[in-house]
């Protein structure tokens, strides 16, 4: 009884915050690890941009904005998040349509929405809104989801994912689909259903293939056979493998990476920064980074496990696992395990919008944990 009332008690909205920092919700473990990752990232970035302080300063400013987003998100109680979820989701899909229409007019890739004072990438919004929407949908329903409910969630996930894939931005489309898919998995579909869908998914691959843009197909070909494009992405993969491999166990030392500093390595400050770190800090450095990332994921899963309602659980779990997907996809593509899909290394790669998105996501985790109602017993 007490647990049931706990879960549904609207009283929780006004309930006293359990953890706090002068009344504010701040998840200290989360925040500390975030600082550690970003700090480590800045050290690597400093080397990657050849000590150009302007770029470094901009990255620091982005982190500042990200921190602000973290704090704001952390103060919003989960049930408010839940109420706003459909609005946020449909706003995001609407903006994607606007961008698609504008792109149609302007010809070519269109990912940005120019609001006059700031340029904004609607697909970033969907990285959060899609798992939120799935969690919202299952919140008042019984778990595990029924088949029709799965269909609805499939629609919730695939609509924005296809719109983003058509922009064309395959990397983000996959991440959005992964975020939604993980929410659905966490909602508890049975292993049998998973297998059925997996088979169906494989069946749709040819359809997906036909929908892909030529350059996206080229990336897949290049991944399977780097020699076909030695002047383009194939070259990138080879050079980044050389950078990683030559780092060895302890690395060549900070600012000593010859692959990076002699400009053999492409996109050093963004998608390929993992290789810079590998070259200069070696396997030990990478393991440290990986441990920090895993700590973030672990903390997130812990928050999910101790969350008290379906929405919070699903959202916390999905955000944590999606974060891991970011890390795995980036590290995988840079080390030649996965095709190059243009996914930055979270919190480390230079770049503004994804930093803010990720920090907002962690803010939501902090909120979910900080707004738990105290157990009566």
């Amino acid at each position: 009884m007490s647990l049931a009332s706990l879960e549904w008690g609207r009283a929780a909205a006004g309930g006293r915050k359990r953890r706090g920092f002068g009344g504010f919700v701040v998840d200290m473990p989360l925040l500390l690890i975030l600082f550690a990752v970003v700090g480590l990232g800045m050290i690597v970035l400093y080397s990657a941009v050849s000590a150009e302080s302007g770029l470094l300063l901009r990255q620091a400013m982005r982190f500042g904005v990200g921190l602000a987003a973290f704090f704001v998100a952390a103060q919003i109680p989960p049930h408010y998040l839940r109420i706003f979820t459909p609005w946020l989701y449909f706003l995001g899909v609407g903006l994607l349509l606007v961008v698609a229409v504008e792109g149609e007019i302007g010809k070519g890739a269109q990912r940005w929405l120019d609001l006059g004072f700031v340029r904004f990438q609607p697909s970033e919004l969907l990285k959060l809104a899609v798992p939120m929407m799935c969690a919202w949908f299952m919140h008042e329903r019984r778990l595990p989801p029924t088949f029709p409910q799965l269909m609805v969630m499939g629609l919730i996930v695939l609509t924005p994912a296809i719109l983003i894939g058509e922009q064309p931005d395959l990397g983000t489309a996959l991440l959005v689909a992964a975020a939604g898919g993980l929410t659905i998995l966490l909602a508890g579909i049975s292993v049998r259903v998973m297998l059925v869908f997996g088979t169906l998914g494989l069946g749709t691959l040819p359809v997906l293939w036909s929908l892909m843009h030529d350059y996206q197909k080229a990336r897949v070909f290049t991944f399977l056979n780097p020699e076909t494009d030695p002047l383009g992405t194939g070259y990138n993969i080879i050079q980044s493998k050389i950078a990683i491999g030559s780092g060895g166990l302890f690395g060549k030392g900070w600012l000593m990476g010859s692959q990076a500093h002699l400009e053999f390595l492409p996109e050093r400050s963004t998608d390929f920064i993992f290789a810079v770190m590998a070259e200069e800090f070696g396997l030990m450095g990478l393991c440290l980074l990986l441990v920090l990332y895993l700590a973030l994921v672990g903390r997130g899963l812990y928050i999910a496990a101790s969350a008290q309602d379906t929405f919070s659980r699903l959202l916390a779990g999905a955000l944590s696992l999606t974060f891991f997907v970011y890390v795995f996809v980036n590290a995988g593509m840079v080390s030649g395990l996965l095709p190059i899909v243009g996914v930055p290394l979270p919190l480390v790669s230079a770049g503004g919008t994804s930093m803010v998105t990720i920090m907002t996501g962690f803010g939501m985790l902090a909120s979910i944990h900080g707004h738990r109602k105290l157990l009566a017993a």
Partner: protein, 636 residues
């Protein structure tokens, strides 16, 4: 409990257990995937460390693009019109130069480097790694010699050979072959960048642009071994599983329909007037010549010209960059009469022996405006044949009114007027075939959209709104010559393999035939056009006296300014640029045509005086022979 549908019942305990099990499963998968990642890193960084370390710290790969050789362009007789010539380049190697500023200044004093680019070049050299060769300028043979004798004074400066595009016929080929120029930001949007790695130039206009894909070829690459500073040590085949070298695939050699002999004759026949000549083979649509004067030397674009030179060329009042043959639109004047005659015969608004009396002017029934004979004079009694031979306007005023504008414009459209011909290079204008519908579409004010009967009258003699390009005129002339069989005008007729020298030719592209005129009608119009150049009173008779071939032709005069009702056109009163344009449409030999011509001479003062003489020279060259190799464009 407030949540859930009535038939479902939430069980928080069971749900939490389910969720927990999922989280634990997810955690295990995360750990497993991390394991995969670490294993991969161990594989790269521990097991293969030796190999990658060697690649990285000792020698390493660098992949250098090897640009393909651009295809050669030939005329129909395999005369080269665009080729790649060795060219001298001045290069600097930064690390071997003691004082870059002083070195550059000395080179400027010798006239080898442009002083206005001093800062640009200095920054260019400094932004490259010390051992890299940086191009400073193109050198002529003479400049190369100047430098060669002083080479010992310039440590770190050298000359090297490179291939550059060269157009041996210079301005003669500017409007067909076009030219290449440095790749611009806009060009980058439409090309595959990796295929252009190592390529500096790209087709900008004409054939060079239209067939860029085929002319360019496929980039190759070679693997270089460079040391830790990136200096190239030697060409080497590493013999491992990474990259091998690949030879570039040269661009295709293209064969054009152009006959350079005729092209030169056309260009020289125009001389220093502003005008255009287009010659087409009516049997295939092959464009034998496209001349537009004044022209420009495309080699200046290929070599790169200064901004000032370009602006001078671009703002020249004679518009040398303007391709009059494709983009110049002119009122056709009386050259339109053969086409109108055919349309009228088909409409049966006239019979071949229908005679009228031409008093030198004509009024629409019930109106006071007098439509005069353009060239003045009184033709007296004329039938259709003589109306064409002597270019009687009054006869055609009446034909146009009898047919009505709708039928008339339909007949002209069938010959390809009013739409691009579809030539395989860009830049064609559509021209205009006016009709009430056209007027409605192209005028915004309601009172301007009304079609007036008087506009039908003047369309009958090719004045008013009607506009044609010289290319359209030649193409329509070819259709007359072939009696309704139509081909799409084309420049590309084949490609030549670089290896075997074998040429493969393309089939002509047929267009819908005009088959609604009787053989007698075609014959009548052809005979009348032969009369123009041979009979007493024919408007081009004097121009064709002594020709050894029979010519079917029609002169035309296009007014540039309107002449008031009571005034006469007096050339001496009129500014040169407002004088009449002269036009001529022709085909020859009349009984088995092998060439059709469309000619415009701007402000030349009438078809028989300005355009027909040009036709005579071009046709003489076509039927005789002329040594084209004697002509060589200004030395590069």
């Amino acid at each position: 409990m407030v949540a859930g549908s009535s038939r479902q019942f939430k069980d928080p305990w069971q749900e939490q257990r389910l969720f927990l099990s999922r989280v634990i499963a997810a955690g295990i998968i995360v750990v497993l995937l991390s394991g995969v990642l670490v294993t991969r890193l161990v594989q790269l960084q521990i097991w293969n460390y030796e190999r990658f370390s060697e690649l990285s710290q000792g020698n390493r790969y660098r992949i250098d693009p090897v640009p393909p050789t651009r295809g050669i362009i030939y005329d129909r007789n395999m005369v080269v019109i665009a080729e790649n010539r060795p060219n001298w380049e001045l290069v600097a190697v930064g690390e071997q130069i003691n004082n870059l500023d002083r070195t550059l200044r000395s080179l400027e004093d010798l006239g080898l480097v442009d002083p206005s680019e001093h800062d640009t070049l200095r920054n260019l050299v400094r932004s490259h790694r010390g051992f890299e060769r940086v191009k400073l300028s193109n050198l002529s043979e003479e400049q190369a010699a100047t430098f060669a004798v002083r080479r010992h004074l310039f440590s770190g400066v050298d000359i090297q050979e490179a291939l550059a595009r060269y157009y041996p016929f210079g301005e003669m080929s500017a409007f067909t072959v076009g030219y290449v120029g440095s790749i611009s930001e806009t060009d980058l949007q439409r090309i595959d960048r990796s295929n252009y790695a190592g390529t500096s130039h790209i087709g900008k206009t004409g054939i060079e642009r239209a067939y860029e894909d085929r002319l360019h070829g496929q980039v190759g690459y070679r693997q270089l071994v460079v040391n830790a500073q990136g200096r190239v040590l030697e060409n080497a085949d590493m013999g491992n599983d990474d990259f091998q070298s690949k030879a570039p695939l040269p661009g295709e050699n293209l064969v054009l329909s152009i006959d350079m002999k005729l092209q030169i004759a056309a260009h020289e026949a125009l001389g220093d007037v502003r005008g255009a000549v287009v010659a087409i083979d009516p049997r295939s649509g092959d464009v034998l010549a496209i001349a537009s004067t004044p022209s420009f030397d495309p080699n200046r674009f290929a070599a790169g010209m200064s901004r000032r030179d370009f602006v001078a060329l671009n703002t020249d009042p004679d518009k040398p960059l303007f391709n009059r043959a494709l983009a110049g639109t002119y009122p056709p004047g009386s050259t339109v009469k053969p086409f109108i005659a055919l349309t009228a015969l088909q409409h049966e608004s006239v019979t071949p022996d229908h005679e009228i009396y031409c008093p030198g002017e004509w009024r629409l029934p019930g109106q006071t405006h007098r439509y005069r004979e353009g060239r003045g004079g009184v033709h007296g009694r004329v039938d259709l044949h003589h109306a064409i031979v002597r270019s009687c306007d009054v006869y055609f005023y009446q034909l146009a009114v009898a047919m009505g504008i709708e039928y008339l414009s339909g007949g002209l459209t069938a010959f390809g007027f009013g739409a691009p011909t579809g030539l395989d290079i860009a830049g064609e204008q559509s021209g205009i075939v006016p009709s009430p519908e056209w007027k409605k579409k192209n005028f915004s004010r309601r009172e301007d959209q009304v079609w007036f009967p008087g506009e039908t009258v003047i369309t009958g003699i090719g004045q008013g709104y009607m506009l044609v390009t010289p290319l359209q005129l030649a193409s329509a002339g070819a259709t007359l010559a072939a009696r309704g069989t139509r081909f799409k005008p084309r420049l590309l007729i084949g490609s030549a393999s670089g290896a075997t020298g074998e040429t493969t030719y393309l089939e002509p592209v047929a267009l819908p035939t005009i088959d609604d005129h009787s053989a007698e009608d075609w014959q009548l119009v052809s005979d009348a056009m032969v009369g123009v150049t041979s009979e007493q009173g024919g408007t081009a008779r004097s121009n064709m006296i002594g020709a050894e071939y029979s010519v079917a032709g029609k002169t035309g005069t296009a007014q540039v300014i309107g002449i008031a009702q009571d005034q006469k056109y007096r050339e001496e009163d009129i500014d040169e640029r407002q004088r009449d344009h002269g036009l001529f449409v022709a085909f020859a030999p009349a009984d088995a045509p092998r060439i059709a011509l469309g000619i415009v001479v701007e402000n030349g003062g009438g078809g028989s005086r300005a355009a027909a003489p040009v036709a005579r020279k071009v046709l003489d060259a076509f039927f005789a022979s002329q040594d084209y190799t004697a002509y060589v464009a200004g030395e590069p």
